[in-house]
Amino acid sequence: MYETFELLNALALMSNFVFVPALSYGSQLALGALGITLVFGILRFANFAHGDLMAFGTMVVVLVTYWLQAQGIGIDPLPTALLALPIGIVVAVAASLAIDRTVFRFYRRRRAAPVIFVVASVGVMYVLNGVTRFIIGPDDQRFADGERFLINARDFKEMTGLAEGVTIKLSQGVTVVVAIAVVAALFWFLQRTRTGKAMRAYSDNEDLALLSGINPDRVVAVTWIIAAVLATIAGTLYGLDKSFKPFTYFQLILPMFAAAIVGGIGQPVGAIVGGYIVAFSEVMVTYAYKKALAYLGPGGWEPEGLMQILSTEYKFAVSFIILVIVLLVRPTGIFRGKVIT
């Protein structure tokens, strides 16, 4: 009996600090990586501006949320931000189409080298970053409202009698549910609709697709629309779960790129799997297993050190390490992405 309790305690502890946070973080990364992988697959360049597009879309959602809150409109217990999301999406879509029109189309027509697109996307990144900060400022914005917890640590302890609590925040629940819905919709779109099929064909072989009468402008436009939708949703979920701060979104590009490359560039399924791989590795590699091992080990025993593989300061380095390992071992990614030369 004692052993079972210890085991359950260890499980609760790990769920609280590893599984639950990693699952919601992974969902957010997966949505971001999906956008990156689509742009990479169809437009054939690494879009550095994706993180700041997330920030831009989320900013609109935050502002609309504030307005709705001021009007007293809400959907308690769910966060008001879900109501504001469509408006944010519309603005982000308009912005990304405008950016394509003013920046990227020029280089596409000239058939410029991919690296030119990358440099241009870095320029776009800074402009978007500046616009976002200019409008909403560099500070933290907290826009989550409604119920905070699905399960709260204290209640969980009372309910189960365990020493360790498990917290599941409402935002984490919302994140996972929305992510599943969005991914399902995207796959249906890519597999079943004419436009979706056209996009896959274009991604596989541009010339062949053009020969078979696919309208490239339409494919490009739809790609940007989907990327903006995914970015806004991912950004809003991330902001709800944590908090909105323009600069953090810039730092999300590295894990998102890692996720896209690990899964295989241009592979939607890969991006999702990659997202979870990166998220779980980040959390598990930097978690201190001291307490969990103490539960699992003989009674009264406790490990000397923290039992941590990598200190939390290097959390973000994990995605880079994964990236390097994949580049060295299997450059095409898990799901055999685009031919990478």
Partner: protein, 397 residues
Amino acid sequence: MKKLLLASSMLALSATGLSGAAQAEVKLGIILGFTGPIESVTPGMADSAELAMKEVSDSGKLLGGETVSSVRADSTCVDSAAATAGAERLVTSDGVAAIVGADCSGVTGAIANNVTIPKGVVMVSPSATSPALSALDDNGYFFRTAPSDARQGQVLADIMKDRGFTSAAVTYTNNDYGKGLADAFQSSFEAAGGKVTTSVAHEDGKADYSAEVGTLAASGGDLLAVFGYVDQGGRGIIQSSLDTGAFDTFLVGDGMSSEALVETFGSSIDGSFGTLPGNESEGAAKFLEFAKANGVDGDGAFRPESYDAAALILLAMQAAGSTDSAAVKDKIMEVANAPGEPILPGELAKGLEILANGGDIDYVGATAVELIGPGEAAGSYRELLVEGGAFTTVQIR
């Protein structure tokens, strides 16, 4: 050959360079991070320093009726090169007599080493708290009205001991302030027999601190000591700790002890405690009142210290009978410390008067200024306790 080249170009350059030497009014430079990580704090600091300048100008008693004006420059808080360029402009182009600043310890060191010490200009920092600056080879030109973090670490450890806590997990914002304070706290606390279970850095400006909190929770401890900023990572750490049930009692440093903390978390952090420089003295209250009467909000981080920094410089000028930094630097300690008539905020005119008549003053100011050793504040701290979702002052240390 090199010497000759040097000499001839110097001749050409310095012929025009000293045109601003004779100034009609006294100019003070204010170099603070108006952009960058602490941009939300600095405007209030500059306003407070300018408040003291205005007070002195209006009194008409400084050096027989000189007026004081301020020139601002941006230290950026992090970019030493830009800060040095800004300070250089203040000293050589605007011809300031002394400088209030800088703010962050890193740029303060750069400005002191590259501009103010070589140029022999007095600089009084209201907010650079790094213990490393005590060791600056400053020829007596550098002062600060904020106490070194070494002192605060000691006070925090004392409070822990008095309250009967024997172990703590520590997290600090990953810069010289956070790390310096965490080190100071750890060594004082361990010397007093306490145990720091782990010391984890957190980066400001990240959205997610669950990994850091996970590590802190795994290490355990009676409470969590957070040495960061309330509008930055510090808040995220506390939020995440409360959410996951990892800690519910916190020890906070001066970057966290603000109304914003209790506004955010309310009674859920009851029993937490912390320190804030300053005291409940007459001076602090008087400063708030005086600032308010002049349309300045004096309630904020390092604002009283900024007022005191500017006031000290101006009083020392009066005592020296000159705006020349070489003379002023020797008078700063004198006007700041006893013996003499105590001078509170809003009473600068009185202080100037006494000094003009050859008397002696002890500038108390808004923060009970008392300079020690290498020209830094001895530092008194308020011990704050969160009760019923609000701060109460337990005692002065």
